[in-house]
């Protein structure tokens, strides 16, 4: 149990907080972006911002897979789901994501066969069990879940399941980070790199952050002490004038990533020329589509979809939240018109979204102090 006590030790947290304060005192104000929704949750839940000096600001990034799906794609999914003989399978999170006019939940209420599944493999099993249905899996997620969809496609091909297809909305983590770095007025001093995406892609893909933008990046775990240590490592780099990719989460993330997963990804998927991200607009080569060898299982090739871009509702500021330009509570409809029960934007729909996280912990709970004692 030595390791656990090491990264949960309250003394370690106190030590890191002191170290951060000391480092911060000798530097100008710093703005770090945590890319991953899991980090956003941990930061709000543990009140980590209140442990950091005022000169250090954490801004939330685009790392919530449901939050970045644009309205037009939801409409496309609904259009497919509404066709005769189609069974649409999706993760529970996707049911309430607003499209231009409705949600998949509403489509289901109106008679479409929409089912929640835990895994793409469950959707494939439904296809095999119900050969007269056209089963479509609505695939979303970063590189963490893309291998799962890829393996499912491989199995569909091996077993020659012809009534199964994939509506692919997988996205990749690096291009939106670039887009954020390039967006005007964005002044970041470093990144807290995502945890579980990195178990697949490794740390190599983040090298551009240091090489092209001269900024440090530290992949970090999800414990409070992990996050504090990640912040301390960023400040150390800045103090030393270094800009490197470092890995605080070595106990889970290998620098080279997972070779099997990467091979599977490249076997099944290729990059799309463009993909629209909610709030970030079109980003080149930022999403995955099935290779032509898998065209038979590609729902976009099998079904008519509107493919229309739908502008976000005026009141919705998810784009600004996803870019870290504003904090959740700065959105005008936060907590009033937009709540987890009646979400206007995606960041409130998914429990991984920043607005949902802040709604759940930030506003209605006293911020706990250093809750790092093991339970």
């Amino acid at each position: 149990m030595k390791f656990v006590t090491e990264f949960r030790d309250p003394d370690a947290a106190k030590f890191l907080i002191a170290e951060i304060a000391e480092l911060a005192a000798e530097q100008p104000a710093r703005k770090f972006m945590e890319v991953c929704g899991g980090h956003t949750h941990a930061i709000y839940r543990h009140g980590i911002e209140s442990l950091l000096p005022d000169s250090i600001e954490m801004v939330h990034g685009p790392g919530c897979p449901v939050c970045v799906i644009p309205m037009g794609r939801v409409d496309d999914a609904i259009a497919i789901a509404s066709q005769d003989g189609v069974t649409m399978c999706c993760f529970g999170d996707m049911m309430r994501v607003p499209g231009g006019n409705s949600t998949l939940l509403e489509a289901k209420a109106n008679g479409a066969d929409v089912r929640v599944v835990y895994s793409p493999l469950d959707a494939l099993a439904i296809a095999e069990r119900e050969p007269d249905r056209n089963v479509v899996f609505l695939a979303v997620g970063f590189e963490t879940t893309a291998p799962s969809t890829a393996i499912t496609a491989m199995q569909a091909r091996e077993r020659d399941v012809s009534n199964f297809s994939i509506f692919c909305n997988h996205v990749t983590i690096v291009p939106p980070m670039k887009a954020i770095l390039d967006s005007p007025g964005m002044q970041l001093d470093g990144f807290l790199g995502p945890g579980h995406v990195s178990t697949v892609i490794g740390t190599g893909p983040y090298e551009f952050v240091s090489r092209e933008y001269g900024l440090p990046l530290v992949t970090a775990g999800f414990e409070p002490v992990d996050i504090l240590q990640g912040v301390a490592m960023l400040l150390h780099q800045l103090a030393d004038g270094r800009a490197e990719v470092e890995n605080q989460y070595k106990r889970v993330v290998r620098d080279a990533g997972n070779n099997s997963a990467l091979k599977i990804l490249s076997e099944v998927f290729e990059l799309r020329p463009h993909f629209e991200w909610r709030g970030l607009g079109f980003i080149a080569q930022s999403a995955l589509t099935l290779r032509t060898e898998y065209a038979q299982w590609d729902a976009e090739k099998l079904f008519e979809v509107p493919g229309v871009r739908v502008a976000d509702p005026k009141a919705c500021q998810c784009g600004e939240v996803l870019k870290g330009a504003i904090r959740p509570w700065e959105c005008k409809v936060f907590g009033t018109a937009c709540t987890p029960e009646t979400p206007i934007g995606t960041c409130m729909v998914s429990s991984e979204g920043a607005c949902a996280a802040y709604f759940n912990y930030g506003r209605f709970r006293a911020r706990p102090r250093i809750p790092v004692t093991a339970t």
Partner: protein, 100 residues
């Protein structure tokens, strides 16, 4: 779905299936181990599970830490466990299963 839940491997199914039975909060279900086969996954190992796929092998301490983290998230974890437990095809535990 982006944050993995820790699960313990209780049985490796026939290798050509590239699947294993894992347990989360007392619920068992079949998951894919394709991605961690090369890492030598075995009975008793802890894995990080994303949407029915073991994506990495972790040690017991990390599993405990991850579990604490997930429980702290509350609704996120509850939803994952609920989804994991839903509609589980019945699994016959094999008597040959050995603990390592």
């Amino acid at each position: 779905m982006c944050v993995g839940i820790p699960a313990q491997v209780v049985e490796i199914l026939a290798p050509e299936k590239k699947a294993a039975i894992v347990e989360v909060e007392g619920v068992r279900r079949e998951v894919s181990i394709v991605v961690v086969l090369d890492d030598g996954v075995k009975v008793g190992d802890w894995v990080l599970l994303h949407v029915g796929f073991a994506m990495s092998i972790i040690d017991e301490e990390e599993a405990a830490a991850q579990l604490d983290f997930m429980r702290m998230l509350g609704s996120v974890y509850d939803e994952e466990v609920e989804a994991f437990s839903a509609d589980v095809p019945s699994i016959e535990p094999k008597s040959s299963t050995t603990e390592t």
